[in-house]
Every structure is written in structure tokens, then in C-alpha cells.
Symmetry: C2
Subunit: 392 residues, 2 copies
Amino acid sequence: MPAPTHHSTAIPEGLHMPGPRVVLGRGEPLKLDGGGLLGPFPVAYQTYGTLNADRSNAIMVCHALTGDQYLVGPHPVTGKSGWWEEIVGPGKVLDTRRFFVICANVLGGCMGTAGPREIDPLTGRRYGLSFPVITIRDMVRAQALLLDNLGIEQLFCVIGGSMGAMLVLEWAASFPTRVFSAVPIAGAARHSAQNIAFHEVGRQAIMADPDWLDGAYEESGTRPERGLAVARMAAHITYLSEAALHRKFGRTLQDRDRVSYGFGADFQVESYLRHQGSSFVDRFDANSYLYITRAMDYFDLAAEHQGTVWRAFQGTRTRYCVVSFSSDWLFPTRESREVVRALNAAGANVSFVEIQSDKGHDAFLLDEPEFHATLTGFLEGAAELRGFGPGG
Amino acid sequence: MPAPTHHSTAIPEGLHMPGPRVVLGRGEPLKLDGGGLLGPFPVAYQTYGTLNADRSNAIMVCHALTGDQYLVGPHPVTGKSGWWEEIVGPGKVLDTRRFFVICANVLGGCMGTAGPREIDPLTGRRYGLSFPVITIRDMVRAQALLLDNLGIEQLFCVIGGSMGAMLVLEWAASFPTRVFSAVPIAGAARHSAQNIAFHEVGRQAIMADPDWLDGAYEESGTRPERGLAVARMAAHITYLSEAALHRKFGRTLQDRDRVSYGFGADFQVESYLRHQGSSFVDRFDANSYLYITRAMDYFDLAAEHQGTVWRAFQGTRTRYCVVSFSSDWLFPTRESREVVRALNAAGANVSFVEIQSDKGHDAFLLDEPEFHATLTGFLEGAAELRGFGPGG
């Protein structure tokens, strides 16, 4: 089988993504939920800290829909902070003096892991829409292969927010012996009708853009930037709370004393949203957005386990800490409670915390002391049980 | 001044909108909040029932963003029911054997009233984006001119939901002696940051469509249908509740046993949403969508009255019935309570009801017995006070 002709993905064109990248599925390709086979395929990842002698201190961080492996900045594309700098680093919640933190770009992503933006090694051409539609379980299987490659049998912890929480739950369900502890944050056991609806709006916005070209835009030197920006704008509203939008912006005008009686960005909230859209297209790929939102829509632990979520965790020995945020309306506390009920029904060791916050879904990315203290407390307890004492 | 060359608007092209239409602002043009003048301009409307001898039984219904004057069907474009057939008709809440019900297409609309789709009588060409940006107060002023034209001094009631509620509040604030009673339903005294954000997404979706052509699409025989459909899809989610989406669709698949591992409408909720988008573009104009959403965004009764809402109602003698729905997250009960507080501060006669419903914002359009009973009770009491007894 020919090796991939491209070993790093460029965003924007010509920029090489820094960091390690392995080619997996060389011997045996990955069997996908959709029935296809994938391999060989690249996975790009980052690690922070040092793996200890008995390989027991590895933490897998699972990123969200538009996240990536760069937990700590500067980000190679944007130059900004990493998306979880609040949490990961020396002395932080995921203390890199103590833990070996791994984060891999998910399957379907656009930061170096196999996805529609990558080159198909079988054809030497970009996948585009010929990339197979993948699931959260496929993403987790690819991460398990990465773990094999790194020579790590068991993760001390798998942790992630939003889509990351879906991967965490799937990790615990699919590889129960490889997960010592699991922290699904602001997640759900399945994607709700309303969330599927919001994703569908985003996909339709992208596919309505004539520059999308049925996914073959890269070949033509175009990109569906307007469609992707609209998709991002719609999604971004769902990541915040009404209270946060009111507190941050209210009806404050942008650089003007009075409304303009026009269609410019009169209000700060409009200007902010436009900025969210336009900056997003510089760092994200439209086809990846289609594939990853689809994987989230398909996620349904019950459907994978004879119609009930608790069967996904039958016999589990993993320790769980389920976290939600009170003002999150995208993945409301109700959905985390359903996960907790299923874990209880499976006899799991589970703690559950709803963090009081008015910051909405994105609170898991922000400076939330109660949230951070919750994670630290859980990890301390788990580390002691796992046999590496407090404070390293 | 030349008369308008076009006296009815066609949607789709060539279809004449049935019903009365008057040309207003002939002598003195309408002064707009944005500083411009409008006139002469057409207003298209419908009436149901008969005006009584002392002209005391007129009810003005104010429609929502994408509503129109056709309260009762068949709708001339879609052939479907009118949008308030649940409420308006013989023996219904707005009993047309008893009341004279008026509904006018708002300024900026696309069903025969002056808007971007109409012909500018001064140039003989379609307005497009040369139509002035208008406000909710401008819409109400135009309706007041219509009332003058109909020879009605005082409305027995002004009633409307969503944007209609904004018009109701503006009617009471701007023309206090012309409004005997007022029923703002699922509304607010000002548009919230989150709602402005959702509107901005819709506008950006329209303006991102290359067929929009800076608003001059009609001249070129195109229409930004894809952009308008995306705008509608995003908005439509906000009109429902999460519970209603879950109850109606959940994760049920559309005409298939299993997911397709593709980007078709696997889920019923996707199919439903796509239908909402594609059917909307057949009956609505993209530029009108821009103008009317903008008018809603600008709505802020406090800003119009030295920074406090209660001043808008100072000295009011109108009787108010404020209604909200418990599952409405677009115009949540909290916002109706703010209106009630302002009315109380102004010493107004006000009753307030939060209807328990899981149907979200759109509950005001649906069969909700408690809602209907609330309206009937309020109107009975008001009619007795106004001097026309129970049951006509």
C-alpha cells in the first residue's frame, strides 16, 4: 500500500502543522461503523508532561467539535492561547509535572489527522466527500490505536467537554479496562433533536455556499467561507447563555452613539458574532465541520447497546466524575443526569456535580474556580487509588 | 406626486395579492424614525366581521415577523390556513360576529404594504435596499394612518404575538387614547442581545448568498433562496422548545431503518427543518426579512422614553393583558414580567398570565385552551366596560 504522499496538513495552504503524527492502520485497517475500512491513516497529536516508569499517569484529553490537539498555545495557526490553557500546564488542574497529557486531533478533523482535507493514500488525491462518514466510536477506536502505538495500556483518565464528553463516554463503554477514570463534561449520552437541528442549519449554510462545490473546493482554490462563517455564528450563540450575552453586550452599540438605520453591525453583539464567524474560517475546514457535526448527531449510546444506556457501562470498574453547568442549554444538566442514572444503574462509581455558572456551555473552557476545584478533587482521589500519591 | 405604478405585489411574480389596499401619506408623507419621509405608500390589509354603528368594536391584530394580513385562510400564496385561524372567526376568541378585526401587512413587509419589494412611486423602480430602514414605531404610525383612513378613532383592542406584541406596546405608548385595551403576547419591551444575535445570523445567511446581489435580485430574476432558507431554519428552531422538538421528532429517522452515513436528511427533525426552509422562500421576500428583523432589533421602549420603560405608559388608561408561555425561550416570561413591572409602575390596569405549555414561542399560534380562555375572559371584561355586552 502506498504511504500517504502528504504527511502534514496545511491551514492555510503551505503551513505545516507542528507536532508528532503517526500513521496507523497500516497492517490492519480500521473498521468503521459505516461499514468501510480506513487505513493507513495519520493521527496528529500533542503530549504534555512525561510518561512515568509504569506508564500509569497518562491522561487523554478529548477535544470538542472545533477544538484540536493544541491544548496549550501559541496555536500554530492563530498564534493565540491553546483552548484548555486554563486546565493544562505545570501546577494546573491537569498538572503536567505529574501527568502525561495526550490530545489527538479527532478522525475527520483538519489539523493533521485523517479527514476530508487529507490526501487519500490510495488515490494520492484529497478525500473531500469521498472520506467515509465516521462516528464518535470510530474516533475513539483511532485514539485506541494511537495509545497502542504509544505503548500505553491503560489511561489514568479520559476527560473532555461537549463532543469531548461523548468521546469520554464512548472510551469507557468500548474499552472499559483501558480507562481508570473518566470525566465527561457538559455532555450527553446522545445528541438531542434540537442539537441535531442546529447542526443541520450549519451544514445547510455550508452546502448552500456556491464555493462549497460539493466538497471539492480545495481542488478549485476556493473555500466556502461565507457559509462556514454563518454556520459558526449560529453555533456560537448556542455555546453561550442568554445571561452571558446580556452581561457582555446587552444592547450596547458598536463604536457609535446611535443606531445607523442600516444593516451594518450597529450592536456590539453583531460585531462580536461577525468576528467569530470570520476568524473561524481562517482556522477550520468546512468539510471537517460537516463530518464532525454528523458524528455528533449519530452519537447515541443507547442505540449502540440494545436500547439502554446503562448496558454501555455494564460491569464497568471505571471511576466517573460527571460535570454539567447550570446555564448550559446546549447540553443541559438534565442530559448529564441521564448519564449519571445510567451509570448508577450499571453499579458504577460515579460522582456528579452541576457547577453554578451563568457562562453557558462554553464554561468548560473558561476560568471557573468551582469547576477546577471539582476536577482537582476528583483527580487527587483517583490518583491515590491508582497508586501515585498526592502532588506527584 | 405620481401615484404608485404598481398597486399590488406579486408573490410569486404575476400573482396579485387579493384584498383591500390603500395608498396613505399622499398629502403629508410619513416621518420615519430614521429621519426620512415615506409617501405616498400602500398598505394592504384584511378585515373580518362588521364595524358597529358607533365604531367601537374594532380590533387590530398585529402580525409577527413572517406573518401577514391573512388571519384566516386559504392563504393566497400557500393555499393553507391563515396564521391565526385558531383565534379569529365566528364563535372564536376574536369572534367576528361581534368584533371588527383588522390586520394590516406591516411596513417593510412583502404582502402588498410598502417595503423593499414594492415599486418606489418616485422612481417607478423597485425599492430594494433604497427602501428606508424602518422601526416598530414607524409600522405603528402607518397603521394609525390606516385607522384614520377607515374612520376609526379608537381601537377596542390591539393584540399580537412576538413582533406583534412589540407593535401592541408601541401602539399603547404612541397613541394612548386610541387603544382601549392591549394584549401583548410572548413579547418584550426591547429585543435582547441573544435575539439580535439570532437575527444577525439570518441576515448574514441572506447577504452571504451570491444571488442576493446587494438586494437588487428582483431586477436580475434571481432570488437568494438558499440564504433565506438557512435564515428560516435557524429562526425556526428558536420558535419551538427543546421539549417540543424531542416530543415531535426525538431521534426518529426519516423513511429509513438506519442512518445512511451521509449528509442526507437521516433524521425527521432534519427533514422537517429543510421543509420549513424551502417552503418559506416561496412565500417570503429576503429583503423584507432584513428590514423587519432590523426593526425588531431596534425596538427598545426604554430608549424611546428617557431610559425607562414605565415612562412609555405614563398616564395610560388602556387595560392590559400580558401573556407569556412557560417554555418560550425566545421571549421568555422574564421579559413579559419586565413589561408588567413597567405597567405597574405607570399605575396601569394590567393582568398577567404565564400559560403553562411545552410548545415554545410558537404556542401563540397553536391550539392552547388555557391561552384561548385567558384571552376570552379578558376581552369579555373589556367589552362590558366599553359598553357592548356579553356575546354581542
